[in-house]
């Protein structure tokens, strides 16, 4: 949960950084140490997410900073740059941490300690958390923790974050590390490296915004295109020359400058770890490897992936029914009670019942689907299956100029495009990153889910049953990917012109997910969803209601009543007394019909109707009436707004009665009032799919446009918005025209 914990005064709060390779259980350990109380924000100036929590140590509460997962401090990607800046205390507004907890995969000690050795050069007190200890034991291996602690010179604690094992020991070790200031002895570099570092430091003096640490200078020496170079004013020539001279020295030593650090460090670690990892028992077979033989099979793997995705969307569609009914009943009950209270105030009553409760309620009803979707997403991620999916997709993505690395952000975009776009920061090739950002919003985010469920539930399920409805939901989620791949191909071939880069991926072992983490993820997604219902959805609903309710000319009611009465008298062979008697009873069918006619007349001349009718010709070819047009236009800031907007439109328009208890039924019963289609249903199957295709392809999310603008600039953000909107319009027109021609 995200809380606003009051921080103690800055000078008393110790800052602890948590760092580690990806897939080492860093997030689980962070959750264990902080008790899942987190504050999420951004690092200043960059869009890398900053996660803070409070850990209680012997000295009192301390701030735990969860740094982005990194294999090294090479600082070639945005994530790694932030990690280097935080650790060296060069990030504006952030102090250098008082201690570092380096999370190490116990099954892969040497490679994981490479990062620890790099951090050691900063001289920050460190604790090593040997996580995934259970996986090590499952392999029949053990680590001599005491000996490792002695050789490294810092506390080493064995942990199993998934089971919260070793967490209190880790907390104690952090307290001790801060008190005793125990640091890993940095490795001894060859004289040539030290000389080169000193020369670069001298050359950089006066040309940098802040004095560079030895670690940062070493990064400039070892890394091609290191981000640290950006600290040097206009990449000053003297500094560039000093770096080149330093690299020449390494070449003379017989070392490739780009690989020198790894070669020297691994040699050092090999010596340091001699005899540390022991075979304690019988080595058990590598389960993960045998599962992967099937999961990563060219045909079998893709089939399993397809089946899994189908099962997920089928479950999302069919499991939520009872809970949705429950929310709907609750909504109706609240409407009844509140409507009764506000009866003496008709305008306020309409705002609260037809506007707020109807609009927000129509949106909140989809909470169960969101929870089920996130249950599966976190289950697939925590088991380690997502990495396999990225591997499977590498071939497909290679065809369109990207690689499997782009699949991870795209898969994240199925939850929400914003974290998906932020996840592209791990892609080193800036052009591939740009293309991934531009196609990520095409993935069907969870905000599209309510739109699909509403329309599929109203028009596909009644005709073809639950199974086909689930399949339709799956197909709508595939549509974005099916468009994204050729779009990426066009972009990489003709616009940004890049070639696929080699894809290196670490496949984490399969693990049983921790139910606590899965539930936590669901809770966060649910809270976010409800939060939106109470903020942006509520605000837009109120505005939509006002535009639909006003103007309210008094004479309109009299006109409609007069016209309606005259029609009824004519239909009853001139028996005015009979008609008047029936109209005098407010519960009679005739009175209800008149009430609906008055509501409909008011809605039809409202400001919103005028706007909708003006824009409607643009969407006529896609089969939209003015009400759908209003829903679509109102959804440009956030696409899920269409649900609440349609809820308010149909509630105020007098279309909701006892035969249409929910929005689904109301939409299914809606008919064209006049024009060439008068009396025919507005929502046919072709219209329903036309709307869904529009929502699948359109860039209706103000927050996503803003994030793209932050990442790539406003020019690209606008290009993305215009092209996606155009694509959505063309797609929906095609679907409607073809669908109608085929008789749907």
């Amino acid at each position: 949960m995200t809380t606003t914990i009051a921080s103690p005064p800055a000078q008393q709060t110790k800052q602890i950084a948590l760092i580690g390779n990806p897939n080492t259980g860093k997030t689980s350990l962070f959750n264990c140490l902080t008790g899942m109380r987190q504050r999420v924000g951004n690092y200043p100036g960059v869009t890398v997410e900053k996660k803070l929590g409070t850990v209680y140590l012997a000295q009192g509460p301390a701030t735990l900073i969860d740094l982005p997962g990194a294999y090294s401090l090479a600082a070639s990607s945005l994530d790694e740059r932030v990690a280097v800046d935080v650790l060296s205390g060069h990030l504006p507004g952030m102090e250098r941490p008082d201690a570092v907890v380096c999370v190490v995969d116990a099954t892969n000690l040497k490679r994981n300690l490479f990062l620890a050795m790099q951090i050691a050069e900063l001289g920050i007190p460190m604790v090593i958390a040997l996580n995934l200890w259970d996986s090590l034991e499952a392999r029949g291996q053990t680590i001599d923790v005491d000996e490792l602690e002695k050789r490294l010179g810092v506390p080493v604690v064995a942990t199993v974050a998934r089971k919260s094992t070793g967490v209190s020991e880790l907390r104690e070790a952090i307290s001790n590390a801060i008190q005793q200031e125990r640091c890993i002895a940095p490795m001894i570099w060859p004289e040539e490296v030290d000389e080169a570092v000193k020369e670069i430091q001298i050359a950089a003096k006066g040309h940098t915004t802040v004095a560079l640490t030895e670690l940062e200078v070493r990064r400039m020496l070892f890394d091609a295109g290191s981000a640290v170079m950006r600290r040097v004013e206009s990449q000053h020539e003297t500094v560039r020359n000093a770096v080149q001279i330093g690299r020449e020295k390494l070449r003379k030593l017989g070392l490739n400058p780009m690989a020198a650090e790894a070669v020297l460090c691994y040699k050092h670690l090999e010596k340091l770890l001699e005899g540390i990892v022991k075979q304690a028992g019988e080595a058990k077979g590598e389960k993960s490897e045998s599962i992967d033989k099937l999961m990563l099979h060219r045909i079998g793997g893709l089939t399993i992936f397809g089946v899994l995705m189908y099962v997920v969307f089928q479950a999302v569609y069919s499991w939520a029914g009872p809970l949705m009914d429950l929310i709907d009943v609750a909504k109706g009950a609240v409407q009844g009670v509140v409507g009764g209270w506000l009866e003496p105030w008709p305008i306020l009553g309409s705002l609260v019942t037809d506007g707020i409760i109807e609009g927000v309620g129509a949106f909140v009803i989809f909470l169960p689907q969101i929870l089920i979707l996130f249950f599966f997403i976190s289950l697939l991620e925590d088991t380690g299956y997502m990495a396999r999916a990225a591997f499977l997709m590498d071939r497909l993505f290679g065809w369109c100029g990207l690689n499997g690395k782009s699949f991870v952000p795209m898969l994240s975009s199925y939850a929400c495009a914003i974290p998906g776009i932020l996840a592209t920061r791990t892609i080193e090739d800036p052009k591939a990153r740009m293309v991934t950002i531009l196609v990520a919003p095409l993935m069907s985010c969870s905000a599209r889910l309510p739109v699909y469920v509403l329309l599929i539930g109203a028009f596909v399920e009644p005709r073809y049953g639950v199974r086909i409805a689930g399949l339709a939901l799956f197909a709508m989620h595939l549509l974005g990917l099916a468009i994204a791949i050729p779009a990426a191909w066009l972009l990489t071939k003709y616009v940004v012109k890049t070639k696929p880069q080699p894809f290196l991926l670490e496949l984490p072992p399969y693990r049983v997910p921790r139910m606590q983490d899965v539930l936590y993820r669901m809770w966060q997604a649910g809270k976010e969803f409800i939060g939106r219902a109470g903020t942006i959805i509520l605000a837009i609903t109120i505005i939509v209601w006002a535009l639909l309710y006003f103007p309210r000319p008094v004479e309109l009611e009299a006109q409609v009543t007069e016209q309606f009465t005259a029609q009824q008298i004519a239909a009853n062979d001139g028996h005015a007394d009979l008609v008047e008697a029936e109209l005098a009873d407010p519960d009679s069918a005739l009175s209800v019909e008149l009430g609906n006619k008055i509501d409909s007349a008011y809605t039809n001349q409202s400001y919103m109707a005028r706007i909708g009718k003006t824009i409607q010709p643009v969407f006529e070819l896609a089969g939209f009436d003015w009400k759908i047009t209003v829903g679509v236009v109102a959804s440009f800031p956030a696409r899920e707004v269409i649900i609440s907007t349609l809820g308010v439109i149909y509630s105020l328009g007098g279309d909701v009665d006892e035969d249409s208890p929910d929005l689904k039924t109301t939409l299914a019963n809606a008919k064209w009032p006049d024009g060439p289609h008068a009396g025919q249903p507005i929502f046919t199957l072709a219209v329903a799919f036309s709307i869904m295709v529009f929502f699948a392809l359109c860039q209706q999310c103000g927050a996503t446009v803003a994030v793209i603008a932050k990442e790539l600039g406003w020019r690209w953000a606008m290009a993305s918005f215009v092209s996606m909107t155009a694509m959505a319009w063309i797609g929906s027109v095609l679907v409607y025209q073809i669908g109608t021609a085929l008789g749907f």
Binding site: V40, G41, N42, E49, W345, I347, L348, L351, S412, A415, C416, I418, P419, Q524, E528, G531, R532, G534, T535, I536, L538, A539, I540, I542, I543, A546, P637, G702, A703, A706, V707, K710
Partner: protein, 43 residues
């Protein structure tokens, strides 16, 4: 009159909220750390 005033105040507050939200999201830093406007969705 009181009823109309209350409704007008609610509608104006909603409009102001959306305007503030738009202003925040169009700034270079976007919503940044301040998510109170609900613009910024996180995973």
């Amino acid at each position: 009159m009181t009823e109309v005033t209350i409704v007008a105040a609610i509608v104006l507050a909603a409009g102001y909220y959306l305007f503030r939200c738009w202003r925040k999201s169009s700034k270079p830093q976007g919503c940044g750390d301040n998510k109170s406007c609900g613009c910024r969705r996180k995973r």
